[in-house]
């Protein structure tokens, strides 16, 4: 898989070197996909790449772009590493690509935001736009916001606020425990929970908050014992990957009855690793899941699975992102990042399950969110595990809106 992608990348690069100027801008809109394609998180990055390619193919088939233009996805491997990402960005710019798509790792997103604003300041007329589909550090659309950055996933505060709203109507939950990975993202989750939960329900007690090192813990049972001893009704965790699977498995072994509020249980590998341990207990807050009834999405889920049997359709927001980008290019008749950026500001599009709005003040996308629980009685399961999500609550766009502190510097 990997090698295949790398080869395609090299071939694309060679093809571009061979034909430097003739077939640029007018015919092909190239998207630089900068995400991990090798190393420990390769499966996550390859999953996103499969999504993006699938979407690009569909839009090309439908001739969604004006004047016979087509999309082309050019992958760059960044190994979720900030400095590798900057090298990848430079390579993309050298190839004349001006639209960057990136998702994993808020540290990567921050590095790219900085590098891109610097590049755009120094190279007027050759600006680059950054479409971020998964890094959700709230700072990216608050204090560190940039005109050239657009966040398509609900950021940590929005997600935690939605969980808090849910808990406001759940008098059976009073004692909440926070356990998170010890880095910027985990700390953002804990800070958001400490701010929003007591606000939503003053009688909620945060009975404990733990930070553990990233991907270092093998045995979570001592953490579970702490959670248990604190008399916890619900656990809020931003953990992903093995840190999440091991935690939830240890919870089941320790006989923990608490509910889990997670962000990423549906992400590649999560459900397989947790298995039955999560059924009825583990919840996820996200913009979509496969069992939201919708004929249009059902078709995408099935044909994506047929084309990429290793993956499940997960990044609903990538669909929204590509629709918005396509509309921006159609509206302006231009592929210039500055025109695209102005067109995206304030844009509203209808997605299959509801409206999505790109707030002009901070370039944060707002969309319908779903709080869902793992169940073994579902139409669409995850990773052929027989387990999938059922909706607990649908949170409408207007209820997800939070204020921003962004002071956007726009090009004059």
């Amino acid at each position: 898989m990997n090698r295949h992608i790398r080869c395609t990348g090299i071939l694309t690069a060679l093809a571009l070197v061979g034909a430097p100027t003739a077939l640029t801008a007018a015919e092909t809109v190239r998207l630089a996909y900068i995400d991990p394609l090798s190393g420990g998180f390769a499966n996550v990055g390859n999953n996103g790449l499969a999504h993006l390619r699938f979407l690009a193919d569909r839009l090309n088939e439908a001739e969604a772009l004006p004047d016979g233009m087509t999309y082309e996805v050019v992958p760059f491997d960044n190994k979720v590493n900030a400095s590798e990402s900057l090298i990848a960005l430079q390579r993309a710019i050298d190839q004349g690509i001006r639209i960057v798509v990136q998702g994993n790792g808020s540290s990567v997103a921050h590095a790219l935001v900085d590098a891109i604003s610097k590049h755009n300041r120094r190279n007027p007329g050759e600006e680059v736009i950054h479409l971020n589909y998964a890094s959700i550090d709230p700072a990216l659309t608050n204090e560190s916001c940039s005109f050239w950055h657009f966040g398509f996933d609900a950021h940590v505060d929005i997600k935690v606020a939605a969980i808090a709203e849910h808990l406001a109507n759940r008098p059976d939950v009073t004692d909440v425990y926070l356990i998170n990975q010890d880095y910027s993202f985990g700390r953002a989750v804990a800070a958001a929970a400490e701010a929003f939960l007591p606000e939503a329900r003053p009688d909620i007690n945060i009975v404990g908050s733990d930070f553990h090192p990233l991907i270092k813990v093998k045995d979570f049972s001592p953490y579970v014992a702490k959670i248990q001893t604190a008399g916890t009704d619900a656990v809020v965790t931003g953990n992903w990957g093995n840190d999440m699977s091991l935690l939830i498995k240890a919870g089941r072994e320790g006989g923990l009855e608490a509910e889990w509020f997670t962000f990423y249980v549906g992400l590649l590998g999560g459900v397989s690793a947790i298995g039955e341990a999560g059924v009825g207990k583990v919840k996820q807050i996200s913009e979509w899941h496969a069992n939201v009834p919708n004929a249009e999405m059902d078709e995408i889920v099935t044909s994506f699975k047929a084309q990429y049997p290793d993956f499940d359709w997960y990044y609903y927001r990538l669909g929204t992102m590509m629709d918005m980008l396509t509309q921006a290019i159609n509206d302006t008749g231009s592929t210039d990042p500055e025109d695209i950026a102005f067109a995206l500001e304030g844009m509203r599009v209808d997605t299959p399950i509801g409206e999505a709005w790109m707030r002009p003040e901070d370039h944060q996308l707002f969309q319908t969110l779903f709080l869902a629980t793992l169940s073994n009685d579902v139409t669409h399961d995850v990773e052929n595990s027989g387990i999938g999500f059922v909706t607990d609550e649908r949170i409408e766009l207007d209820d997800t809106i939070l204020p921003t502190t962004c002071e956007m510097q726009r090009p004059s």
């Binding site: 733990d210 090192p213 270092k216 093998k218 045995d219 001592p222 072994e253 320790g254």
Partner: protein
């Protein structure tokens, strides 16, 4: 107090699992004088084989067959790989096992993919056995403990009480003499390598479903196993046993302690500014718990390079 007991218990179970891995590694080291970097890879293979077997004929046959297959594989690798490389000295051997670890990881990814396998605890053992202070204790954990202890007794019995055990002990320290006495030392080496990797495979069978079966599992546990044998003393079984339990208990109990350096100095009357919760002074012991084994190893190497029970310097 009950909670303390719970933590201790957890630490012992984890420690025993570590010992199953490190016992094989330390035996192989004392015989061949080489650190087997691929040792944790056999642990991973054990988990994957067990998963594959359990999808066809269930967990219990997997418990027997997976370690046997891993052990045989280990013996074959020793016979046709390591023994050939042995002639070229320790560096070649070290590089060989290092390459082997990478190779096994890639093969596992090639066959099973990068995602975790849905290898789960058998339903017969998937219940809470007893409860301490509100924390229930799963039957599977106790089962893990029993398997490790019986393995340990079995191993001890063989090494201390049987003829082959005597030959192994002799071959550890005086291979040439044993060879001259007419014993086939090469075969003893192969046997020990096979049994050592088989033990790692067994640890994989019972650890793979308790934790997660995925291609990164070897690397994650590999480092900690080295810590165990260095702290215990290279080549010492007793040392590996004590160090496994010690590290298991330290790592799990430290999680329960929410004391930071700032709290410590506060007890003697110096208060530090609580402004930044992210600085070193305010990191609690529970936050740094998973790093403690490595700290312990470094301190051990500085103060006592041969480890707790070792006879030669690391």
């Amino acid at each position: 107090m009950d909670t303390a007991f719970f933590f201790l218990f957890n630490g012992i179970v984890y420690g025993l699992l570590l010992f199953m891995l490190s016992s094989g590694l330390t035996l192989i080291f004392s015989m061949m004088g080489v650190l087997n970097f691929a040792h944790a890879s056999f642990y991973m293979l054990g988990a994957y084989f067990a998963y594959q077997i359990s999808t066809h004929i269930g967990f219990w046959p997997a418990l027997i067959f997976a370690p046997l297959i891993v052990g045989c594989l280990g013996a074959v690798i020793e016979r046709y790989g390591l023994r050939t490389v042995h002639r070229h000295g320790h560096v070649a051997e070290l590089l060989f096992t290092f390459g082997l670890a990478l190779l096994i990881e890639e093969i596992v990814i090639l066959i099973w993919g990068r995602n975790p396998m849905p290898y789960s605890v058998p339903s017969e053992l998937d219940f809470a056995l007893f409860e301490i202070a509100g924390n229930s204790y799963s039957a599977y954990k106790i089962f893990m403990m029993l398997v490790s202890i019986s393995m340990l007794l079995f191993l001890y019995g063989i090494i201390a009480r049987t003829r082959i055990g005597m030959i192994i002990q002799a071959a550890l320290t005086h291979p040439e003499t044993v060879d001259t006495l007419g014993h086939n030392v090469s075969r003893v080496f192969m046997l020990v390598f096979g049994v050592g990797t088989g033990l790692a495979g067994l640890a994989g069978v019972i650890g793979g479903n308790a934790f997660v079966t995925e291609p990164g599992m070897a690397r994650a546990l590999g480092t900690i196993v080295f810590v165990v044998i260095i702290v215990g003393g290279l080549g010492s079984l007793t040392g590996a046993f004590v160090a496994s339990l010690l590290l298991g208990v330290i790592q799990t109990t430290a999680v329960a302690v929410d004391v930071s350096l700032a709290d410590l100095v506060a007890t003697v009357g110096i208060t530090t500014s609580a402004a930044d919760a992210n600085d070193l002074m305010h990191k609690t012991l529970s936050q740094v718990a998973p790093i403690l084994p490595y700290l312990f190893m470094v301190l051990m190497l500085i103060s006592r390079p041969r480890g707790l029970f070792g006879t030669r310097d690391a």
